[in-house]
Symmetry: C2
Subunit: 286 residues, 2 copies
Amino acid sequence: MKIIRGIKAMQGSSGKCKKKGLRIGLVPTMGALHEGHLSLVRSCRRDNDITVVSIFVNPIQFGPKEDLKRYPRPAGKDAMLCREAGVDYIFYPSARDMYPPDFKTGVSVRELGKGLCGASRPGHFDGVTTVVAKLFNIVRPDNAYFGQKDAQQAVIIKRMAKDLDFGINIKVLPIVREKDGLALSSRNIYLDRVGRAEALCLSAALRLAKDLIISGQRDTRAVIRAMSALISSAKNADIEYIKIVDPNNLKEIERINDECLICLAVRIGKTRLIDNVVIKRSGLKK
Amino acid sequence: MKIIRGIKAMQGSSGKCKKKGLRIGLVPTMGALHEGHLSLVRSCRRDNDITVVSIFVNPIQFGPKEDLKRYPRPAGKDAMLCREAGVDYIFYPSARDMYPPDFKTGVSVRELGKGLCGASRPGHFDGVTTVVAKLFNIVRPDNAYFGQKDAQQAVIIKRMAKDLDFGINIKVLPIVREKDGLALSSRNIYLDRVGRAEALCLSAALRLAKDLIISGQRDTRAVIRAMSALISSAKNADIEYIKIVDPNNLKEIERINDECLICLAVRIGKTRLIDNVVIKRSGLKK
């Protein structure tokens, strides 16, 4: 496994692989790798000859009051996990190289980034699409892997890749959960013992929603009311949003007649957590 | 010479060339080709194994009151000129393929697109950077060729290519002029006989500015005053702007101590024309 810091060096290595006809897969991450990331790496290795994991805590996707400084950066452990997982290259650039002082360009998928998480994190998704566009150009992968955990991000990146004709397949893989249901997240380490227990309210609310819908409930307001009540029973839980949307365009829906995405953001104390579930059309048959 | 309409087909042809190790050059145009474009093509052919000319009148870079419908589209003549010039591929996509109904992504070099032409054409340069990002991804050239005639565009595209790590060399070639000084432009055909004569005021004003500066004038306001007086002597000329800026960041300067870019936009009747000249540092020595 090779760790590459320079942008040109990564472009060079990637270019050489492509000239040999090797298929390249990219797993873009902010490090603090967990089983969710590793499931992306495994999938990437199955599909490609070369697996590149980028590790970059992207400053421009953090708001001024967010956890950029505090975000975990266990570089040594991440490298070890990548090596064990059979990663070929870690691309590990510096913020200064990625955003030199005269940097001025932004990539935006406009309206898709405004609702849901974008409402409380203005500019967040523009930061994501901008860095992902850069990573796509630096690595030029055939396939790129993202987690369904960040459902809105996945929709936005698919849109960007298509709109800008990157010619890269965007693969979105299922959420990986702890045995008790908590969705894996690099931010889970912020939770104390009580918070960890209360954080189960997110996945529990999603299970409840799924059960209600499968049992025939089609009114999204009723589903959201039930979820809200469940979450509010956790003392330190503060709901940022609970929405049921069309998974293709992220528009809110009132009646569930087709595939839908239920997603939520909840603060447990100071820790902001997100989770979601997709209800497939087949789940609506009664 | 091959004319390709489909995005995937162009990506496929381009990919095949790259696999053979051929160097690809791209000349992005809106068609209505003139000697300015052809000078780009010749330069492209010298540097590359494969020359691709894209012809696409990009709707998203036109304002609602601009000349999108009226813009000349002499497809047959353009194809003939390309063939004669030794072009390998014309990429000639449809607006519907480039911007399907669910298209949502934009690329922006923010502040660089706000002044100069951007002041009267809001969103114009975002339209340009978005389509150029798409063309870069579709053709994946090693080199791309632009005319200095569109000075602001050239600065913005260089910035975008660097910021987003396209790994594409941006080559900016000198303005090609008629013998009497008029900068070649696809929009010159809008001019009637009187307008054609009056249009000479743009290049004349730039020559005057250059002479003044070379003779020692360092005060940009004085230079602009003289240019303005000259242009105002043409009856149907309406100055949109005359600016003297730093060619790197397009910021206005007051005193000329280093290389500078003098640029202007003038309406001759209804026809909006632009022109510019760069005064090199060496021209400032007395």
